[in-house]
Symmetry: none
Subunit: 204 residues, 4 copies
DNA sequence: CATGAATGAGGTTTCATTCAT
DNA sequence: AATGAATGAAACCTCATTCAT
């Protein structure tokens, strides 16, 4: 019985996952408003109604997607960082792992970056609780860096967090837009980001 | 006769302007999709149809708004920069004037920053020709800075332009989100931006 | 004073006529629904409002046009027929003059033929009183022809009238659709029409 | 399974048919432009959106209607004509069956006859491919009649086709307009049509 | 559970008509 | 009289969401 339930549950998760994958693709391709539930359901090979068995409404689907992926990224990052000792190295790992992750999840990046700036009332920056966690985690690393003196204490940590994040996103976005056939590795850009950031935020 | 015509034309521009102002407010408040033409018309105290006497359709209204404001900003910036001699100062002025402008045009900033990241197919980043001009202009200043040695030549200028813009936007956005009653001047943040950027992009 | 008034009146008629001409062109080109008052006014070089100084509404303009032209055709036909003696000749003249008229007024013909079949409630076949007169006149000629024995009395005259009219229109329409560069004269087709009709409606 | 599918499909066709019937009625009553999708949906007892599950847009609905009915008429006619031997009899059957059909489908006739004369750009006389087939079929019968000598070769077959069709339509239209309570059978008029046509188009 | 037809609110846009200038 | 900006009703169509099967 436990087995049966767990299989059932596993199946359920699979379907949910199918839908999330389709949503990721379509939201990235067309944006939140132009991507229809029908599009998404069809791409996932389900009927529209099925989507509603897993998500309350379109917005919930959207946020679940954000949540899921961010949780994934955060856990990867936290895992890898465990080993590092000083803040500089931790931040280095954060950047590198983010680049690796986004290179593999370009659709998600498109959604992520556009969500990013939605300060509009409706699609709120609820910043999916994991988004907030991510932010807090970054902030804590930057605080550490300030304490270790590798980043100046003159700056407001909140501000630094935003600058750091947007810097990373900007570089990724630029890479995504270029992507001439060359297909240079995104992760090669971690040095650029780190140099810009650490120099920028240094004690002078 | 000339007077009559010019009054007519002036009135026309006033009405157009009413609509643009309402659009600015509503696009900023609700975003492109949730802001309806009816909302905008009502806020401008006109009937829906009136909007279409001035703009072909919703998109045209949106882009006209972008264009109008950006042209304004660009001309201010270019005007003020005329006086400056070295690249560092020019860029300083660019930042300062942008901050002044966006402090006065916060609604527009909200639209601007969200447009910015729309890589989606439909509402294209055609970056309203003036948007492109603005970008080119910034790039030219950064090139100058590279030539003058105040910014490292290691970086790709395109990349630098993006970084510079997103840095500025990020700082503004952060300020906009905080804005606790204090109401600190946005323009006071120009030093933060410049320090982060010039240190970041320095030769080491 | 009389002169002054009459000049005023003449001007008024000229403007009315301008509008009717534009309406004729646009109704022919796009049909009643797709032709807008604005289109028509613009083509006539007036403002939309001016149209309403001459016609109560769009429908009134449409019917005035029908009326005007049909009155014209009817008076031409009646004038020419005065001379003829027997019904056959009268009908021959009717056909010939109609062809000449429609060759010169092809736009109007397009409108006329489409109106023709509108039995819909709204754009009623009020058949502009002149349309009715025209019909009665034709009927009277056909009655005469029946009395003179050149057309069989077996047929209902109303029916014959309709058949005669639609026959004429059909031939004209066909000519209009072909009109390969050749530009053959439409009036050359009168024999075809008359032959088809008189044979068709003969006593055997 | 086959049964299940076929029931679904059958239901679907029924709904489609409901809508077509309502459209037929309303287009006949008010004409293409004044009949609204809402009207049609309401008459068919569906919501507006439902119409769009079956037809891409208003025009598609209109043409589907035309197509459906014409296909029906054409197949009936072709079926009955199979038996006949000479052209005269074939044409007789064509007329008779058309009359029977239109007597039963008066709403459709109203649409058909009005469509007929739309030479306007938009609602094209693409004459729904079946419309063209119908025309070609008629033409072929008339050619046969010419070859058999029962219709004069002096006439252009295209012209004859048009004359024949409009003659038939005219007689039906007249009948439809009269229809005093008497309710005489429309099909009784086939002799009138045939006599008018064959005499008219005879060798003299 | 899954389906997908049905719903209907609501958006954009057009255009006949009015009316202040 | 002439203008043409303004109006606002009303049309078409989309799509998130529900619910009977």
């Amino acid at each position: 019985m436990a087995v049966l339930l767990s299989r059932k549950e596993r199946d359920r998760q699979l379907r949910r996952s199918d839908i999330l994958k389709a949503a990721e693709h379509l939201f990235a391709l067309k944006g939140y408003y132009k991507a229809t539930i029908r599009d998404i359901a069809r791409e996932a090979q389900y009927a529209s109604g099925t989507v509603y068995l897993h998500f309350k409404d379109k917005e919930a689907l959207y946020f679940a997607l954000l949540e899921e992926k961010l949780k994934n990224l955060l856990s990867i990052v936290k895992g890898k960082i465990g080993q590092a000792k000083d803040a500089r190295n931790k931040i280095k790992i954060l950047v590198q792992e983010s680049l690796v992750f986004f290179e593999r999840n370009q659709d998600f990046f498109r959604i992520f970056i556009s969500e990013d700036n939605e300060l509009f009332s409706e699609r709120k920056i609820l910043k999916s609780s994991t988004g907030l966690q991510m932010e807090k985690y970054t902030t804590s690393l930057l605080k550490e860096a300030q304490e270790e003196g590798v980043v100046s204490r003159d700056f407001d940590v909140g501000q630094l967090t935003d600058v750091f994040s947007s810097l990373t996103k900007t570089i990724i976005l630029k890479w995504l837009q270029k992507k001439d056939g060359k297909n240079d590795n995104l992760c090669d850009l971690s040095d650029t980001i780190l140099r810009l950031f650490f120099n920028g935020a240094s004690n002078k």
